[in-house]
Symmetry: C3
Subunit: 120 residues, 3 copies
């Protein structure tokens, strides 16, 4: 079985951001030379998420509002109350809701997406 691994790093200036990485993923698939297979994309940081949805600014604002409703930024119950981790305890929960990773079928060397699907 052929395999290919690639890391992509992002510097995000804001507290939270939606980054469309579909082209990065497609480029990695092209580089792998794989025609039929599975493409795994996962975050490697515990407050980051990889998910698939439409690339529409209004949708991202809805997501922001929804995530803040479901897992609000605020004090966590962490053991070390002075830990700077306290400030991003909500990020762990938000990742849990949005999901750590996606798996995308590769068909004819392309990401096998529905018409509006993009990877963030």
């Amino acid at each position: 079985m052929r395999s290919h691994r690639q890391e992509v790093w992002f510097q995000v200036p804001t507290r939270r951001a939606f980054i469309n990485i579909t082209r990065d993923v497609q480029a990695a698939v092209r580089e792998s030379g794989i025609q039929e297979g599975l493409c795994r994309v996962n975050a490697m940081h515990i407050t980051a998420s990889v998910f698939i949805n439409d690339d529409e600014p209004g949708l991202h604002r809805d997501d922001e509002r929804s995530l803040e409703d479901l897992a609000p930024h605020g004090p966590s119950t962490g053991t070390i109350t002075t830990s700077p981790e306290k400030t991003y305890g909500d990020g762990h929960l938000k990742r849990q809701i949005m999901g750590r990773s996606v798996m995308i079928a590769i068909t004819n060397a392309q990401l096998d997406f529905g018409p509006w699907e993009q990877t963030f």
Copy 2:
């Protein structure tokens, strides 16, 4: 590596529905002839979800209520306020919570499920 791809289409008369597709998935696995492997099932529309849980009507009513609590149907913050998309902005969020897709191990040509697991 052997691969097999199949599309299944559904016409759903109601706004939202729980469709048990376990037999469709099993049929596709049978057709593939794969004995040991992985079966990827994903929605290709951005307001649809594929998930695995029990097939129990009460559970589906709980799911409906819970999804409406977590991602209520209502005005979205989409850029084009007159867009008909506004009416299903909540569908994007509900998909995020329920998940886009599942991966099922294939063992001895069968979906390797726990005793109550079904695919929807």
Copy 3:
């Protein structure tokens, strides 16, 4: 394609628990002899979840609180009102939020995790 399957069983004395199974998963990968591939870990019970996050007690308390906020323990709308299932209807919803399963890339016979990622 080489494949390897292993079941792990847990007896949990409490209503809910966070069990770090990273070593069990690593042991199964070692036993499989697979160098590059994919490791699927899924719950087989419909009220259990497998997920990847940090192993930090404060985070687990945050998760507990958040899950109780999002999918509170309480009466379900199940068809058979006297069913003992009523008492764990929330477990189905909590599983939906936390996710049924994870897929982990295997690189050089190791789980290809970010620095803080652990499997629960």
